[in-house]
């Protein structure tokens, strides 16, 4: 697979741009077209405009070079950095522990704690405590509860699994002495995640 960003560094888009410039001869400068849009131009607007054309990497990189840089005013630069920082903060939430992810996703979807509690058949106070981190998500946490909570919040499953693993990694991680009384609990993060995914599959099969 071609990585356009890498290829752009190893091929020579400048040379292609030079070839394009050189390909215009003196004659082509004198020719004129009518002001009105030609049939071919109309056809191209319909067929080409806005499409994601895959092409050679050097062409894409040469297109980058045609765009001239323009100096950015310091105050605008600051606002752009602030905008990037806001977006990065959102990303950190998505890369965080499970309670942070599920709360962020719930709020982004406009769901209330009530709705999540009703959908998951969990007590609203329990959902609130889970979101606040008052109750830790670790290997001792009931798998059915975690699966029901996840099911009630619309969020990318891959992100959920990553966040769940992180939560399991920082919480109780299966010390055998502490396991007394929870003998049937999954013994490690991998098993726990598998159990949650199996339970989620069961929930999602239910009408």
């Amino acid at each position: 697979m071609t990585s356009y960003d890498e290829t752009a560094g190893t091929e020579d888009p400048k040379s292609l741009l030079g070839q394009l410039r050189a390909s215009f001869d003196a004659k082509s400068h004198d020719e004129t077209l009518s002001v009105e849009e030609t049939l071919d131009e109309m056809w191209a607007e319909r067929i080409l405009a806005g499409r994601e054309l895959s092409g050679s990497a050097v062409v894409a990189a040469a297109a980058d070079l045609v765009i001239p840089p323009q100096s950015v005013r310091p105050e605008a630069r600051k606002r752009m950095i602030d905008a990037a920082s806001r977006a990065l903060a959102e990303r950190r939430k998505l890369n965080g522990l499970l309670p942070v992810l599920l709360r962020t996703a719930r709020e982004a979807s406009g769901l209330t704690l009530d709705t999540v509690a009703a959908e998951s058949h969990l007590d609203m106070n329990l959902v609130a405590s889970l979101e606040r981190g008052d109750i830790r998500v670790d290997l001792r946490m009931d798998v059915d509860t975690v699966a029901a909570w996840i099911h009630a919040v619309p969020v990318d499953r891959e992100l959920v699994v990553r966040s769940l693993r992180r939560s399991l990694g920082v919480g109780w991680t299966g010390d055998s002495l502490l396991a007394a009384g929870v003998a049937d609990a999954p013994s490690n993060a991998d098993t726990y995640v598998e159990c949650v995914l199996r339970r989620l599959a069961v929930i999602e099969e239910q009408p």
């Binding site: 394009l20 082509s28 895959s54 050679s56 062409v59 765009i67 959102e90």
Partner: protein, 196 residues
């Protein structure tokens, strides 16, 4: 730092990646905005870039380096921001949002009513195949006009040629492309009779 490393930092949400991203991309994004939206006041061009940067970082997981350059991908968000600006503030200006929305992976509340692209599956690949049959210099010209949506006069200015020369040359490229399209039965069948 190379681009792929910067992208990984952005994906991880590292705060230090923000200023680097702005340093690397903002000058050309602003230059690009000035090319496609000369009528916008500078402050609004800057806001378009600001919005584009924010949207790109939020959706960085969707960037696929096998489909184009990172800078090219972010320019899609600039086009979206400019179209959005026109829709909000410039009464009557023609706006074609649907394809841009689809291309940069955005959804808007009204995107379903915005006129989705009704091309059959695979038509994008078909168009790409036709374009790939052209010499690279011609591909570049088509990309500048129809993917980057640069006006003829802006392309001409950057290439150091006249606007007439630019348009005439594009006209010849399009004639060649239409011949190729006419020879492609599937392609021709889909678009047959759909011309003015």
């Amino acid at each position: 730092m190379d681009i792929s490393e910067l992208i990984e930092q952005l994906k991880r949400g590292e705060d230090s990646a923000g200023p680097i991203l702005v340093s690397v991309l903002a000058p050309r994004l602003l230059g690009y905005t000035a090319m496609i939206a000369k009528d916008l006041p500078l402050a609004d061009q800057e806001i378009a870039v600001e919005n584009a940067i924010e949207r790109a970082v939020v959706r960085i997981d969707q960037y696929d380096s096998s489909k184009g350059t990172f800078a090219g991908w972010v320019r899609g968000f600039v086009r979206f921001a400019v179209a959005d600006w026109r829709r909000q503030y410039a009464d009557g200006a023609p706006v074609e949002l649907s394809r841009e929305v689809a291309r940069v992976g955005l959804t808007t509340p009204d995107s379903s009513e915005d006129g989705a692209d009704d091309s059959p599956p695979g038509i994008e690949a078909g168009v790409s195949t036709l374009v790939l049959a052209l010499p690279e210099v011609d591909q570049l010209l088509l990309r500048l006009r129809y993917v980057e949506v640069l006006p003829h006069n802006q392309i001409a200015e950057q290439l150091g040629i006249t606007e007439n020369a630019c348009r005439k040359r594009l006209q010849r490229v399009l004639e060649r492309l239409r011949l190729l399209a006419a020879a492609d039965r599937d392609f021709d069948q889909y678009f047959e009779g759909d011309e003015s």
